[in-house]
């Protein structure tokens, strides 16, 4: 197999499906690339109409009762993201054919990638909060499947779970935020929310909504302190890293913030949250990117840094910052996608991902080296690349911001880090002396280097054509972010400004650091390898499990008597509450005098029998006592005008007692299990529960009752139903349906006993069929 990481996996299966999936998968890959490019072209055709006439809208009713429409809107911002998603997606499909070629599950991989692409596209085009959320969650699910694609590796599974949980938790917060926002703004349509009452902090729930939405955006876009899942997600195959974790999915949170900034932005809270998180994130990313040596890790952390930059820019707000964010986002997609694909090619061809163990590869892979060099220059922010423009604008925005020194310093630091990180991926493996590799790098097929080279070249072209970009792409996008129509004009050269100086300083310092990069230097700074956020994640999961086990051990103890005690105690607590307010007089206990002597004697006898049944040490005594209660019931039925009941009860009781005797005789002798204190506790609880029943019954029997039902039966039993025994008429005619159910019960009970007896007792649990 091509990928060395997949060695031991499902070898038996691979041999079966290898040839089958091989060709089919390739063809599918090309087909999907075509689909992506077609979508790209369709979106591109919207550029002109959008720039000239404003957003295009499309809406289908889906679930209007729940406020969900399949509403899509294409404006400048969604065009930028949509074209990134489809354009890079197409290149990634081609790249995947080479990278995953011959993989037994290439088809599945492409299917998951397609699902992701469509979800992401939906996210970028959705004009309904819930619809956006739906696509948001679908990207989480598809990215879960993609990160864990090499599922035989424990680290891949763990990373997938981590990404799912972090973004999933954020997603739930986001849903709550969306619902609050929709309720507060009176609509779920995003474009209608811009001018709503909710905008600009004018609503009581503004702050919680903002925090919830930021939680969603920050987790998805790997902001501090949630960024830890992103480097771990590098366990995914490289096409996934290049696509999801640099160019598209991690920018979903940024997209969301940009999309909602007309509706939510511009407040001090917004600025504080976004600029704060962004700055911390870019510093963390800048630092971590420098101290890592694994190519993908370096790129992952520098992506974190870039995401911090975007968040910060959106937080600063205003036209200049928005322009910086948009330009930087586009540029980042070009160079970061390229570098990831380059890293994948290097790893694929040499089997090595450590920057320091690589070198001299440019001879073996010149086209790849060219792509890498272009991407590096772009990442470093040199003119005429788009990044240069982005950085200039960004520096201008930070210098004008309320905290110029901190933010500008942060941008300079992260720019230095970008140069170092870019050089580690784009320069180090290709130049210098050659090294020994586990695999000898062969000729890299065109399908492999085509993607990165096109992307890198496109980045250069975009920078050169900045006038065109400004007019057709950047201006509409910035208009969408700031919520009003603006026109952007940028130039590669606009005099000797402080921004230019800072930019040049960052580049120089960056290359300086890179060239003095040595083991000593790195070991000097690597001593601090901060993982507190991830530590919190693991500790949190462990604690959750511990608490779960604890709770479960307490509640689900396995002791039936505790289950019953808890149920009875609950019953007491809840039922006693309404009864507590009843005055003693309302029970009318004086009514007891109306009893006849024999009835009272019978009641006392039954009471004694019940106590006896409850306490008798011998089984037969208890059964006899139970029988006394049962026959006593029959007598009461007799005393109080219910002969049918008396006869039935008498017969049933006889059968029950015989049954009990037959069964119980085979049980071993009774043992005393429980201690006196627990008996006392149980008795107290049981008597209290009985007391509640008595109290309720006393109240109910005194309640002036009248039932029209009894009178109807009395009047109609003979006339309409031709029977003089009203009880029997009720049973077989008026309410025969009850009897119908009842005989079903008796039948099923009998069948159950019959089957149970016929199945011999098995000491062991046996479930085989």
């Amino acid at each position: 197999m091509a990928n060395p990481g997949r060695c031991g996996m499902v070898s038996g299966m691979a041999s079966q499906t290898h040839t089958r999936a091989g060709f089919g998968g390739r063809a599918a890959g090309w087909l999907l690339a075509l689909l992506a490019f077609f979508l790209f072209a369709s979106l591109a055709s919207c550029i002109k109409p959008v720039a000239e006439a404003g957003p295009l809208r499309f809406s289908l009713s889906w679930a209007p009762s729940l406020g969900v429409d399949f509403a899509l809107a294409i404006d400048g911002l969604s065009l930028v993201f949509g074209m990134m998603i489809t354009g890079i997606g197409g290149l990634i499909f081609i790249y995947s054919i080479a990278y995953m070629g011959g993989h037994p599950r290439l088809g599945l991989f492409l299917a998951e990638l397609l699902l992701f692409m469509l979800s992401m596209l939906g996210l970028a085009l959705a004009d309904n909060l819930i619809l956006l959320f739906i696509f948001w969650e679908l990207t989480s699910v598809s990215s879960y499947l993609l990160i864990g694609f090499e599922n035989e590796k424990p680290e891949a599974r763990a990373a997938a779970l981590q990404a799912l949980l972090v973004t999933g938790a954020g997603g739930l917060a986001l849903l709550a935020g969306f619902l609050l926002m929709g309720a507060g703004g009176g609509t779920m349509t995003i474009s209608a929310l811009n001018g709503s009452s909710f905008a600009h902090g004018g609503h009581g729930l503004y702050l919680p909504t903002l925090i919830l939405i930021c939680l969603g955006a920050f987790t998805k876009s790997a902001q501090f302190p949630f960024y830890f899942w992103l480097p771990n997600a590098m366990a995914a195959p490289t096409p996934v890293s290049a696509y999801l974790h640099s160019a598209t999915m991690v920018k979903a949170g940024i997209y969301l913030l940009a999309r909602l900034s007309p509706a939510l932005g511009g407040t001090p809270e917004w600025r504080f949250l976004l600029v704060g998180a962004g700055t911390l994130t870019l510093l963390a990313g800048a630092y971590m990117a420098v101290i890592k040596t694994d190519l993908k890790q370096i790129l992952a952390y520098s992506t974190v840094g870039a995401l911090g930059v975007f968040t910060m820019a959106l937080g600063i707000g205003g036209e200049t910052a928005a322009q910086a964010a948009i330009v930087y986002i586009i540029a980042h997609a070009f160079y970061k996608g390229t570098l990831f694909m380059v890293a994948g090619i290097i790893h694929h061809e040499t089997g090595i991902r450590e920057a320091e163990r690589l070198g001299g590869l440019w001879r073996a892979m010149p086209a790849t080296a060219a792509a890498a060099l272009l991407a590096l220059l772009s990442k470093a922010g040199l003119p005429p690349f788009l990044t240069f423009l982005g950085k200039e604008t960004l520096l201008k925005a930070t210098l004008d911001s309320p905290w110029p020194w901190i933010l500008t310093g942060g941008v300079v630091i992260v720019s230095i880090s970008f140069v170092v990180a870019g050089a580690a991926v784009g320069l180090m493996p290709f130049y210098g002396p050659g090294k020994d590799y586990p695999k000898t790098p062969g000729r890299v097929p065109a399908t492999f280097w085509m993607g990165p080279l096109i992307l890198a070249a496109a980045g250069l072209a975009a920078g050169l054509g900045n006038g065109w970009m400004d007019r057709w792409i950047v201006s509409p996008a910035v208009s969408a972010v700031v919520g009003k129509q603006v026109q952007i004009h940028s130039a590669l050269w606009h005099g000797l400004t402080p921004e230019l100086g800072l930019s040049a300083l960052a580049v120089l310092l960056g290359f300086g650091v890179y060239f003095i990069w040595s083991r000593r230097f790195r070991s000097a700074i690597t001593w601090w390898n901060p993982h507190p956020p991830e530590w919190v994640y693991h500790a949190g999961l462990r604690a959750l499990d511990a608490v779960a086990i604890r709770i479960n051990r307490t509640l689900q103890s396995g002791y039936l008597r505790y289950y019953i005690i808890i149920s009875v105690a609950t019953a007491l607590l809840v039922i006693a509450a309404p009864l507590a307010g009843v005055a003693p007089g309302e029970f009318h206990l004086e009514r007891w005098l109306d009893g006849h002597a024999h009835e009272m004697a019978l009641a006392v006898l039954m009471l004694l029998a019940a106590v006896m049944a409850a306490t008798a040490p011998a089984r037969m005594t208890a059964i006899v006592a139970l029988g006394v209660v049962g026959y006593g019931m029959a007598l009461f039925f007799m005393f109080f005008s219910a002969p049918d009941l008396a006869m039935t009860q008498f017969g049933i009781e006889t059968l029950s007692v015989i049954l009990m005797v037959l069964v119980v005789l085979r049980l071993p002798p009774q043992k005393k299990y429980s201690s006196p204190p627990s008996r006392l506790r149980d008795a107290g609880l049981a008597i209290a529960a009985g007391g509640v029943v008595t109290a309720t019954l006393l109240l109910a029997t005194h309640f002036p009752q009248g039932s029209a039902l009894g009178d109807f039966f009395a009047d109609n039993s003979y006339i309409s139903a031709h029977g003089r025994n009203v009880v029997n008429v009720i049973l077989v005619d008026f309410r025969a349906f009850d009897t119908f159910g009842e005989i079903t019960v008796v039948s099923v009970a009998a069948i159950g006993v019959y089957s149970m007896i016929r199945q011999p007792a098995r000491k062991k649990k046996a479930d085989n069929r």
Partner: protein, 118 residues
């Protein structure tokens, strides 16, 4: 008489519940049966107690007259008694089968179906 039967009903519930809180399988079933009796007695008491007025339409009459016992609760109790018999018979057989299978009468030893981690 309602007062006395109310107290008797409460007592039967108490005895039944107390038995169900024991550890013995046999007492569990005993408790269930007592609870069944208690529920029936409750239904009977709530229906109103009338002496010597069974709900039969005498020959020559076409309807019940005077102060007759409400026939509906009686019909309900009859249904409940028979249903209860079915359930109890099954439960009795069940405890016997459980005893044969587990070899014990002690409910505390029957915790294979739950417990902290399974």
């Amino acid at each position: 008489m309602e007062v006395i039967l109310s107290f008797l009903t409460g007592s039967l519930y108490a005895a039944g519940l107390y038995l169900m809180m024991r550890r013995s399988l046999f007492k569990l079933i005993l408790g269930l049966m007592l609870m069944g009796h208690a529920a029936n007695l409750l239904l009977f008491t709530i229906g109103g107690l009338k002496r010597g007025a069974p709900p039969f339409i005498q020959e020559g009459m076409s309807r019940l007259t005077g102060d007759f016992a409400d026939p509906l609760p009686q019909a309900l109790i009859l249904t409940a008694i028979v249903i209860g018999f079915g359930l109890n018979a099954f439960a009795v057989m069940l405890i016997r089968r459980v005893h044969e299978t587990t070899g014990t009468d002690d409910l505390d030893e029957m915790r294979h179906a739950d417990g902290p981690i399974r």
